[in-house]
Symmetry: C2
Subunit: 340 residues, 2 copies
DNA sequence: GTGAAAGCGCTAACAC
DNA sequence: GTGTTAGCGCTTTCAC
């Protein structure tokens, strides 16, 4: 097999000192003479010593790791979240262990098990964003006794960090209402997904007394293609506004409409949600609601670190971060608004 | 602190058997009576036993892990790659440890060190895609003695899996030449990045005898905004074709041009590269060159597993996967081509 | 079939 | 300052 890696005792033998000294020296302890420390460092480098994390973790009974599961890394929203989490966690001196559940409950449970087996010191849970039975995952999370915070959505009895989606949707609807729409189509994904249901409730509530006729359409998935085709179905009987639950879908709508020669926002307004790349990379830059992902990441890590630090199990805490309405060019032709 | 986790010896004590028996039973060894195995299983579950991976890895001297570093998880190309790698690696019974270098050489080295310290059994190296000194990373990789394959680009002396970019670019240029362009603008990123230089050489070579006037523009980054603004600069003196080194940039060009009332492909053809979401989520679906990411992932893992399995260090192997020309609507108005 | 014992590489008391 | 020792949780011979 492979030549096995060099260990602390190898370098101890080389120098004729004890393992303890080497260990201390490597950890830069002032217990050991500066000169010895230097010698240890040198031969460690020469021999190509690389510490064995498994051994260290075993004895220290801590891993210095924080784990995260996300449902879909190809989704720019989660990709950004992971990136930000990675930075925040690094700043805290821990390392981030990333798992992808691919929207599969089995894989999600597997990921959680792996995190627990790896003895992560805290877990960041971003559940599958598709209707599914997540009770297995919840049970694992709870039984583990490992501090956990759920990010980007809400789970009963768990500490959560997410955006105030209701508030964001309300802001969006107020903006839309300025255009006095008579007919609004609301384009969403499957029912039974918290973050979607939540937007929808807020939308319906905020639009209720507008006098507009509201149509809600549920698509099997929140993606470009679905939205593109749904927009085609709207062609015969165009609404004044099409509200989409994310930017990617809104882009699908914009592109279909543009292709058909329908002008945005002159003929119809289109709105997105998230303020992702797609809201800019759209032929008509999208009016949308910004979810501040860096802030979510920051607060998530902050809260998790707090949980890890506290001996007792504190009450679970819900953090709803403010959203921001971003007005671009896809809405309300001829309406000027004062800057917020 | 926290109540410490239940161990094998806890469950051994509970049952009045030895640790060895428990260990064997948990690993489903036929050495232990089926009935005992069942009893062990049960109490393990009752007690909420979760194996400690650090301990296991320490004694087994293997981690069952494969590591990967990618430069940027927000880049859809790398996000897809990671997703595919994750699946392929899972199929092989290993788990994937994901690191993000954020295009920072220091973070990249840190990630590689972490992988080595974690004693991953193999590494998948996707270098920073920005000009930088990567010799530190290379040295770490080589000195580690851990089997490594570099994915999506080429590094001397290392096993690599990537697409045949030259060939892809040649196909693209042949397609473009059907439109008899007199003027072609080639929009690229910074110089000194292998995958970019490579495309450019191939482009220049293939366009050389076309009689077209060729202008190469190097942008500081391969992103939407840069391309969008660059396209603005082209407005006064529009070429027949704008070749972009990736879809995201092409989308920027398409959107700027569309905004200015320039019709694609009637007035100008635009091409992308990669066949990412952006080539579809474009108001004018993009003609592009597909990089088969699932294939890259598959071959990468396959090759890595082979390296891990072999006792000797075999010659480094270069795999260039075929690309495919995807003709959509952004090129060559009025030109019909036979299906490939 | 099951138990005893050794040891993976490292850290942390506690001696000296 | 440095060495000695014990032990983290697990697997794995080797006896019984």
């Amino acid at each position: 097999m492979k030549k096995s890696a060099v260990t602390i005792s190898d370098i101890a033998r080389h120098l004729g000192v004890s393992e303890a000294t080497v260990s201390l020296a490597l950890n830069n302890s002032t217990m050991v003479k500066a000169e010895t420390r230097e010698r240890v460092r040198l031969t460690a480098k020469e021999l190509g010593y690389v510490p064995n994390l498994s051994a260290r973790r075993l004895v220290m009974k801590k891993s210095g790791m924080i784990g995260v599961v996300v449902p879909d890394i190809e989704n720019v929203y989660y990709a950004s979240l992971v990136k930000e989490l990675s930075n925040r966690v690094a700043e805290s001196g821990c390392s981030l262990s990333i798992f992808i559940s691919s929207n599969d409950p089995k894989k999600e449970e597997r990921a959680i098990s792996d995190m627990i087996s790896s003895r992560v010191e805290g877990m960041i849970y971003v559940p599958i964003n598709t209707p599914a039975d997540l009770s297995g995952s919840r049970r694992l999370l709870e039984r583990s006794g490992i501090p956990t915070v759920c990010a980007t959505t809400l789970i009963d009895g768990m500490s959560c960090v997410l955006c105030d989606l209701e508030d964001g949707m309300k802001r969006l609807v107020s903006h839309i209402r300025l255009g006095k729409p008579k007919k609004i189509v609301y384009l969403s994904g499957p029912e039974g997904v918290y973050t979607l249901d939540c937007r929808q409730r807020a939308f319906l509530g905020a639009a209720a007394d507008s006098g507009a006729e509201v149509t809600v359409i549920h698509l099997p998935a929140v993606d470009y293609r679905q939205a593109f085709e749904a927009a085609r179905g709207l062609l015969g009987n165009l609404p004044d506004v099409i509200v989409c639950v994310n930017d990617f879908m809104a882009l699908g709508v914009v592109n279909l409409l543009t292709e058909k020669g329908i002008s945005i926002p002159r003929d119809v307004s289109v709105t997105g949600f998230d303020d992702s790349v797609f809201s800019i990379a759209s032929p008509v830059p999208l009016t949308t609601v910004r979810q501040d992902i860096p802030a979510i990441a920051e607060k998530t890590v902050e809260l998790l670190l707090k949980l890890i630090g506290s001996d007792t199990t504190p009450e679970s805490e819900i953090l709803k971060l403010p959203t921001e309405l971003i007005i671009r060019k896809s809405t309300n032709k001829n309406i000027k608004e004062e800057a917020t």
